[in-house]
């Protein structure tokens, strides 16, 4: 289980997160929504260890990790697909995928290879394996980025707006892939998303953020999307 307790964070002097409580249970899919600038990305970065907390705790399986470096959290099964994809532009697609392997260090059971599942889910990873990742189109990059996160054999997958800039048919494929990842690999997913239809059809639960706070949470099945729309209006 991934659990946040009273997490606060800031940029320089200005606070952006004010006491966030949030949890994602094993193999659960949770979506986090909110207007632009409320702090969703900051929260994901704080969980992965790329942004320092000013207070609160992050627990992975009960163990407190908020003092640990990003790479050790990754080795404990936390994977992150950032907004903007964060591929290594000068490396080939193949190399980008293999860059997921270091996260397996220290995990005895793990096999150190790119799993076939990745190529099944995202054929582009094979077809364009020897191209430089920086030269792919936006949508192509998004698929490689998710594929790379899967190479780390994560237990928790954090996704920051994965449908942004993706063609509709691939959005479907990504949704299908994420669903398979969840059910077959039993990976817990925390999905930040603006595209509510997608978020709702994928996730079990939702959190709504406003100005650095969680203001509402519930089951997606119980709540029609229009009920949360007001949090997203300008």
């Amino acid at each position: 289980m991934l659990k946040l307790e009273n997490v606060t964070a800031a940029y320089g002097q200005s606070p952006v997160l004010f006491g966030i409580d949030l949890e994602v249970r094993d193999a659960e899919a949770v979506t986090l929504i909110g207007r632009n600038g409320v702090g969703k990305t900051t929260l994901l970065r704080a969980i992965t260890g790329l942004h320092p907390l000013t207070g609160g705790a992050v627990r992975l399986n009960g163990a407190q990790v908020e003092r640990e470096a990003a790479f050790t959290r990754a080795r404990q099964g936390l994977a992150y697909v950032p907004q903007g994809r964060g591929l290594f532009g000068h490396l080939t697609v193949e190399e980008n995928l293999r860059m997921g392997l270091p996260a397996l260090s220290g995990r005895a059971a793990a096999t150190r290879a790119v799993p076939d599942l990745v190529y099944d889910l995202f054929p582009i990873c094979r077809d364009m394996g020897s191209r430089k990742a920086g030269n792919l189109s936006g949508g192509q990059q998004q698929q490689v980025a998710i594929g790379r996160a899967l190479v780390t054999q994560p237990r928790y997958l954090l996704l920051d707006e994965p449908t942004e800039g993706i063609q509709p048919s691939i959005v479907q494929e990504i949704e299908a892939a994420l669903t398979r990842i969840r059910t077959e690999l039993r990976v817990a997913v925390l999905l930040v998303e603006q595209y509510l239809d997608f978020a709702w059809s994928f996730a079990d639960r939702y959190y709504v953020m406003q100005k650095g706070r969680v203001v509402e949470t519930g089951q997606t099945a119980d709540t029609p999307t229009h009920a949360v729309q007001r949090y997203l209006g300008v």
């Binding site: 940029y11 207007r35 632009n36 600038g37 409320v38 990305t41 907004q83 903007g84 191209r131 030269n135 792919l136 189109s137 936006g138 949508g139 192509q140 998004q142 707006e161 942004e164 800039g165 993706i166 063609q167 509709p168 048919s169 691939i170 959005v171 479907q172 494929e173 603006q194 595209y195 509510l196 729309q229 997203l232 209006g233 300008v234």
Partner: protein
């Protein structure tokens, strides 16, 4: 073969080929956009949409063919000259001037004379008023005096849209303007684009079919660097090949 452009053709892409290290991102592509019209460009990831815009603004150079703007060949001009002729693009990844404040971003973009000497003049009251209006339009009034670098992703998107409008170009190129926007914002963006069309010529790329629907404009589908189909959303949705390469199962395409 490219059809002969009519008198009102503003943008005339003639039979261009663009390749990167031997890989052809665009192959013999032609496209005409009439002055004052609104045109939507869709197509699979990697189809070459952004590359087409890159070619128009001079970021990449076509290996063959040429781009004409208002009858003038622009595909050999330096980028700032192309921009100076009245072409402004919003990039897929927001590119704002991070060290300047939000307001300065707008004021600077709005300048008419962008030469070294012309720029020395302080912005006029009218320009300030225009900037205020755009700040309201993009919901950034409260953020006007902070550096654009500390905006959130979505706010940068809005700022960049504001900048494109501020530049008041003849041709606006919008590369996925609604990426990362909520449904409501998307609708606002569509409305904004409608107010621009007519006086401006607008070419929009997007993957959000709700948005495309709202734009109610002719659509060109690119695929593998070529024009694959042209038509309106209705006919394209009915086209199995377009579904196959781009839209996916009908359920999603609603």
């Amino acid at each position: 073969m490219p059809s002969e452009p009519t008198a009102e053709t503003l943008l005339d892409v003639r039979d261009i080929t663009v390749s990167f290290d031997g890989f052809k991102a665009i192959t013999n592509l032609s496209l005409q956009v009439p002055r004052g019209s609104l045109r939507v460009l869709i197509g699979p990831n990697g189809a070459g949409k952004s590359t087409l815009l890159d070619t128009i603004i001079g970021k990449v150079r076509p290996e063959r063919g040429e781009v004409r703007f208002g009858g003038q060949v622009i595909s050999r001009l330096p980028e700032h000259r192309i921009a100076g002729l009245g072409i402004c693009r919003k990039f897929q990844a927001p590119g704002v001037l991070e060290g300047l404040t939000v307001r300065e971003n707008l004021l600077l973009t709005a300048r008419r004379n962008k030469g070294v000497l012309g720029i020395l003049k302080a912005p006029s009251a009218a320009e300030h008023a225009r900037a205020d209006e755009l700040l309201r339009l993009t919901g950034l009034t409260a953020r006007a005096d902070i550096p654009a670098g500390s905006l959130a992703h979505g706010e940068k998107q809005w700022l960049e849209i504001g900048m494109v409008v501020a530049a008041d170009p003849e041709l606006l190129l919008l590369d996925e303007p609604t990426a990362g926007m909520t449904a409501q914002e998307t609708a606002q963006t569509a409305a904004l684009i409608h107010t621009l069309a007519g006086r401006h010529t607008v070419l929009v790329i997007d993957h959000d079919m709700h948005f495309v629907e709202l734009l109610k404009a002719p659509i060109t589908v690119l695929h593998q660097g070529q024009v694959f189909r042209e038509g309106n959303l209705e006919t394209l949705r009915a086209d199995p090949e377009v579904m196959e390469i781009y839209l996916g199962r009908p359920k999603e395409a609603v």
